[in-house]
């Protein structure tokens, strides 16, 4: 660490670098059904982070040996656009992207009724178009909306947020600058209706007490994001029911 790393992330009034308080989320907006070809799609903006997700399926698995006889397989790709980061990122998947694809897939798999579609595959594609911290969380939030938009049976939506620790203070929804300088970064995702934590990672050091507090803080943020997700889905479907009759 060199001397120039000493930026003030939290001032004496508890204001963060972008003016937020420790428990504030960044401005979030989301929309579903943004792509025509995909079976389901969603776009989520969280501060400077912009993520688009699409779902295809259930569809036939190729090569066939990847299919499960009793349930649908889920494939997930988390990918960052080359222009999404400060330095151009090579479009080839990095080790980080491969790992995140896996943990995101496992989180989503915990809510999808895969047993209803044996021997098929559900493909979930998440593209980070602009990265400003919390991209896996925004990606997961978007992917669960895309699943709902596609009409794939799910137990619950998934909402996600990253909790960080900066200058000894636990803060909600860290952005990229905070992420670079923080003492700990803990992305988490939940199935909110069941209080289940479906994704949890920690990068950094927390005391056991801080761990519990961080999860409490994350839950608060997740509930707010979940409310927005519900609102987004209901608004869209209210419009579509007004337009067309109910099809069973």
């Amino acid at each position: 660490m060199s001397s120039e790393d000493k930026i003030v992330l939290i001032d004496e009034k508890g204001r963060r670098i972008d003016g937020r308080g420790p428990e504030d989320l960044r401005p979030i907006r989301m929309e579903i059904d943004v792509l025509k070809n995909a079976d389901g799609s969603a776009y989520v903006e969280q501060g400077g982070t912009k993520v688009i997700a699409a779902v295809y399926g259930p569809r036939e698995v190729h090569p066939r040996h990847l299919a499960f006889p009793d349930r649908a397989a889920i494939r997930c790709r988390y990918h960052m656009a080359p222009f999404s980061t400060s330095e151009r990122k090579s479009p080839a998947p990095s080790r980080r992207e491969i790992e995140l694809s896996k943990v995101i897939r496992e989180a989503l798999e915990s809510v999808v009724f895969t047993q209803l579609y044996p021997r098929t595959v559900i493909d979930i594609f998440i593209e980070v178009l602009q990265a400003d911290g919390g991209t896996r969380c925004a990606g997961l939030t978007a992917a669960s909306l895309a699943l709902a938009d596609a009409g794939i049976p799910i137990r619950d939506l998934i909402a996600a947020v990253a909790v960080g620790k900066i200058d000894g203070v636990l803060v909600l929804d860290i952005n990229e600058t905070e992420d670079e300088h923080c003492e700990a970064d803990m992305p988490m995702a939940m199935a909110p209706s069941f209080n289940e934590i479906v994704l949890l990672q920690l990068n950094g050091v927390l005391s056991p007490e801080e761990t519990s507090k961080a999860i409490e803080l994350g839950k608060k943020g997740i509930m707010k994001i979940y409310e927005l997700q519900k609102e987004t889905l209901k608004k869209k479907y209210e419009l579509s029911t007004r337009r067309s009759q109910v099809v069973t």
Binding site: E31, L35, N37, P82, F83, D123, Q130
Partner: protein
């Protein structure tokens, strides 16, 4: 979609009356819109929509070494990704032949007209130059990707700000985003794609039409009225007269595309605005 041969018959019989399945005339584009400045973090960006086809282009500016044979020029690298969320048969992985072809068509069009003044993009001649990464992202595919990607690329270049290169005390070159200047662009270029079906020429074929096309000609047109590149794709052929006619149509239609770019540059937009109500 299910029965291209049957569809082709109805497309042909409608074309006899100068009509297309979606109600367009043979020389008509679908609705076009361009949004610039949609990725704030990129030095330049634009999203172009032609009908339901959506292409997003982001430009990153970096520092690197020049090509040995062109020591006094900056480097422009064009890359296209057909991301799997855009179409059921697009698969994850390195760009396939279609993506590489598309990137190269656009690369050539930009290079042949010296669209970007690469000579002005040197930092230390022979050692350090600017590298301009132009990355094309196809988000939704409904035919005629070439025109949409070119349109987004051109608008993104015009929207690009080049950060000032500064050497620090150890001689490392850093880019200062706070002092950025517009990318030197000499001229503009667009591509007009013309499909041939049953001997008739149609502008901007959509996906449905592309599936029955005999051949397609993508013609790059510079804003000085020159033909700056051509690519014939498809299994069938064109006659010389057809090519001449296609060039004439392309010259005509290119004016519309230049106007769309001009309009888009007047006001920066956002991805939110561009993607809402798209589905």
């Amino acid at each position: 979609m299910l029965i291209p041969k049957i569809k082709k018959k109805s497309i042909l019989s409608m074309l006899e009356r100068d009509l297309r399945l979606d109600g367009r005339s043979p020389n008509q584009y679908r609705d076009i819109s361009v949004h610039v400045g949609v990725i704030e973090k990129a030095e330049g960006s634009a999203l172009a929509k032609i009908g339901n086809t959506v292409a997003l282009v982001g430009i990153k500016v970096g520092v690197g070494t020049p090509f040995p044979d062109l020591p006094d020029q900056g480097v422009l690298a064009v890359n296209a990704e057909f991301v799997p969320l855009a179409f059921p048969t697009f698969e994850p992985g390195p760009p396939d032949e279609n993506a590489v072809e598309l990137a190269r068509i656009i690369d050539r069009s930009l290079r042949e007209l010296d669209v970007v003044d690469l000579k002005k993009m040197t930092i230390i001649p022979g050692e350090k130059v600017y590298i301009i990464w132009l990355d094309i992202y196809v988000l939704d595919h409904d035919g005629n990707l070439t025109d949409a990607c070119m349109l987004a690329s051109m608008a993104a270049l015009l929207n690009t700000k080049v950060p000032k290169a500064e050497a620090d005390d150890r001689g490392f070159i850093k880019l200062n985003k706070d002092e950025a200047t517009p990318l030197p662009v000499n001229r503009r270029v667009v591509i007009v794609s013309i499909g041939k079906v049953g001997g008739k020429l149609i502008v901007d074929p959509n996906l449905e039409e592309e599936q029955v096309l005999e051949a397609k000609l993508s013609i790059s047109i510079g804003d000085n009225g020159v033909v700056a590149g051509m690519q014939k794709t498809g299994l069938s052929s064109f006659t010389q007269e057809e090519v001449e006619k296609a060039v004439e149509i392309a010259l005509n239609k290119s004016k519309e595309l230049f106007t769309v770019i001009d309009e888009a540059l007047k006001k920066p937009s956002s991805l939110w605005e561009a993607l809402r109500n798209n589905g």
